[in-house]
C-alpha cells in the first residue's frame, strides 16, 4: 500500500515568500499501474492525501497536475511531497513504546522488517526475470520467422517477376 501526502504553497510576490497555505489551488492526482491503466484519478485541494494498493508488480506512475489558472501570472508553486511505501514508514520509536520492547527486541524487529523487504524484492525480481525471458524469446522467434518470411517473399517476388516479364515479352514478340 502506498500513501502519498502533498502540500502546496503559492509564491506571493508581495511578500516575496511562500504563503503558508494556498486555498483555491487544486491538484489533480493521476496514478497508473504498470499496464498503463488508470487506477486513481481524482482532484484534491491544496493539501491532500491519496492512497492506493498495487495489485501488480512493476513501475507505477504518479502524476500531479495543478488545475489552477493562477499559474499563468508567472508564479511559483512549492509542493511538499511525502510518499510512503508499505512498511518503509515504520516508526521504531512508536513501535517500541507501543509494544514495550527492549532495545534488542526492537533491533530484531527491525531486522525482520529488513529481511521481509529483501524477500519481497527478490520475488519481484523473479517475476521480472520471467517476463524478460518471455520477451527475449518472443524477439528471437520474431527475428527467426522474419528471416524465413523475407527469404520466401524474395524468392516468390523474383520468380513472379521473371515469369510475368517473360510472358509479357513473349506477348510483345520480343523474345
Amino acid at each position: 500500500m502506498v500513501v502519498g501526502k502533498y502540500k502546496t504553497q503559492l509564491f506571493d510576490k508581495n511578500i516575496n515568500d511562500y504563503l503558508p497555505s494556498s486555498p483555491g489551488i487544486g491538484m489533480h492526482v493521476l496514478i497508473r499501474d504498470p499496464e498503463n491503466n488508470v487506477i486513481l484519478s481524482k482532484t484534491y485541494q491544496a493539501e491532500g492525501r491519496f492512497t492506493f494498493t498495487s495489485h501488480s508488480p512493476g513501475e507505477h506512475t504518479i502524476c500531479l497536475y495543478s488545475n489552477t489558472t493562477k499559474w499563468f501570472m508567472g508564479g511559483k508553486l512549492r509542493v511538499h511531497l511525502d510518499i510512503q511505501v508499505g512498511e518503509h514508514a515504520n516508526d521504531y520509536e512508536q513501535i517500541k513504546s507501543k509494544d514495550k520492547l527492549s532495545e534488542l527486541q526492537l533491533r530484531v524487529r527491525q531486522l525482520l522488517d529488513q529481511v521481509q523487504q529483501i524477500t519481497k524484492e527478490q520475488n519481484y525480481q523473479r517475476f521480472r526475470e520471467m517476463r524478460f525471458r518471455d520477451t527475449s524469446e518472443s524477439t528471437n522467434r520474431r527475428v527467426f520467422y522474419w528471416a524465413l518470411a523475407q527469404l520466401a517473399i524474395l524468392a516468390v517476388t523474383g520468380f513472379w517477376q521473371m515469369r510475368h516479364l517473360k510472358s509479357f515479352f513473349e506477348a510483345k514478340k520480343l523474345v
Binding site: 513501475e59 507505477h60 506512475t61 504518479i62 502524476c63 500531479l64 497536475y65 495543478s66 499559474w71 511559483k76 508553486l77 512549492r78 509542493v79 511538499h80 511531497l81 511525502d82 510518499i83 510512503q84 511505501v85 518503509h88 514508514a89 515504520n90 516508526d91 521504531y92 520509536e93 517500541k96 532495545e103 534488542l104 526492537l106 533491533r107 527491525q110 531486522l111 529488513q114 529481511v115 529483501i118 524484492e121 527478490q122 519481484y124 525480481q125 521480472r128 517476463r131 524478460f132 520477451t135 527475449s136 518472443s138 524477439t139 520474431r142 522474419w146 518470411a149 523475407q150 517473399i153 517476388t157 513472379w160 517477376q161 510475368h164 516479364l165 509479357f168 515479352f169 510483345k172 520480343l174
Partner: protein
C-alpha cells in the same frame, strides 16, 4: 518504484520518508526528465549532517545527465556533466533548503528517466535516551548490529540490481517492438518494389508501339 512526472515549474520539496526517524533521513525518487529541460528538487536539512546523494540514469539516450547541487546560500557545492552514475557525500554547512538540479539541456530528443536517492544522518540509535547501560554492547547487540549493517548493504545492492534490470528491460522491450515494425515495413517495401519494378518495365514497352521491333537505329532496352 515510484515514477513522478512534473508539469509546469513546480518546486518539489522532498519529504519522502523511507525511514521515519528524526535523526536519519532517506528518500529515493525516480522521475522523468524531458529533453532540453532542467528539473530541480529541494530538501531542507539541518546543519552539520553527513549527507549522501546517489543518482543513476536508468533510461534514455546515452544515459547521461548533468547535475548541480547548491547549498541554502545558492552556492554550487557540486557540479558534474554527463554522468550515468555517481555518488556525492558532503557535510551540510548550513541549515536550509539544498537544491539538486538535473539537466538534460544538452539533449534535444531523448527524455531520460533518472533515479536518485538522498540519505542524511546516522542510523537511528535505537534506545536513545532511556538506555541506562551506556558503554560497550553485549555480544548479542553487536551481532545484531552487524546483521543490520549487512542487510542494509543487501538492500542497497538490490536497489542497484533493480535499476539495472529496469534499464535492460527497457532496451529489450524497445528491441522487441522495433523488430516487429521493421519486419512489417520491410514486407511493404519489398512487395511494392517488386511490383513497381515490373510495372515500370512494362511501361517502357507499352507506350510506344514501335519500340517492340528491332529496326535499324532503334534502341531496345530490356530489363532494368
Amino acid at each position: 518504484m515510484m515514477h513522478l512526472h512534473l508539469s509546469w515549474t513546480l518546486l518539489v520539496y522532498l519529504v519522502i520518508f523511507s525511514s521515519r526517524d528524526s535523526s536519519c533521513f532517506a528518500s529515493e525518487f525516480t522521475f522523468e526528465l524531458p529533453d532540453n529541460e532542467k528539473q530541480c528538487f529541494y530538501e531542507v536539512r539541518e546543519k552539520d549532517e553527513e549527507c549522501l546523494l546517489e543518482y543513476q540514469v536508468v533510461s534514455g539516450g546515452k544515459y547521461d545527465v548533468d547535475i548541480q547541487v547548491r547549498d541554502p546560500g545558492n552556492r554550487v557545492i557540486h557540479q558534474d556533466t554527463k554522468k550515468q552514475y555517481d555518488t556525492f557525500t558532503w557535510k551540510t554547512s548550513a541549515s536550509g533548503a539544498f537544491t539538486f538540479c538535473f539537466s538534460n539541456e544538452f539533449s534535444s530528443f531523448s527524455h531520460k528517466v533518472i533515479f536518485f536517492g538522498i540519505s542524511c544522518g546516522d542510523d537511528p540509535m535505537l534506545g536513545g535516551e532511556d538506555d541506562d547501560r551506556p558503554g560497550a554492547m553485549t555480544q548479542m547487540e553487536a551481532n545484531t548490529l552487524a546483521i543490520f549493517e549487512s542487510l542494509k548493504a543487501v538492500i542497497s545492492y538490490q536497489t542497484h540490481f533493480r535499476l539495472n534490470e529496469f534499464t535492460g528491460r527497457r532496451v529489450a522491450n524497445g528491441l522487441h517492438n522495433r523488430v516487429l515494425w521493421w519486419s512489417v515495413g520491410e514486407i511493404i517495401v519489398l512487395l511494392s518494389v517488386g511490383v513497381g519494378q515490373v510495372l515500370l518495365v512494362r511501361s517502357f514497352f507499352s507506350d510506344r508501339k514501335n519500340v517492340g521491333s528491332s529496326g535499324p537505329g532503334g534502341k531496345v532496352r530490356i530489363g532494368v
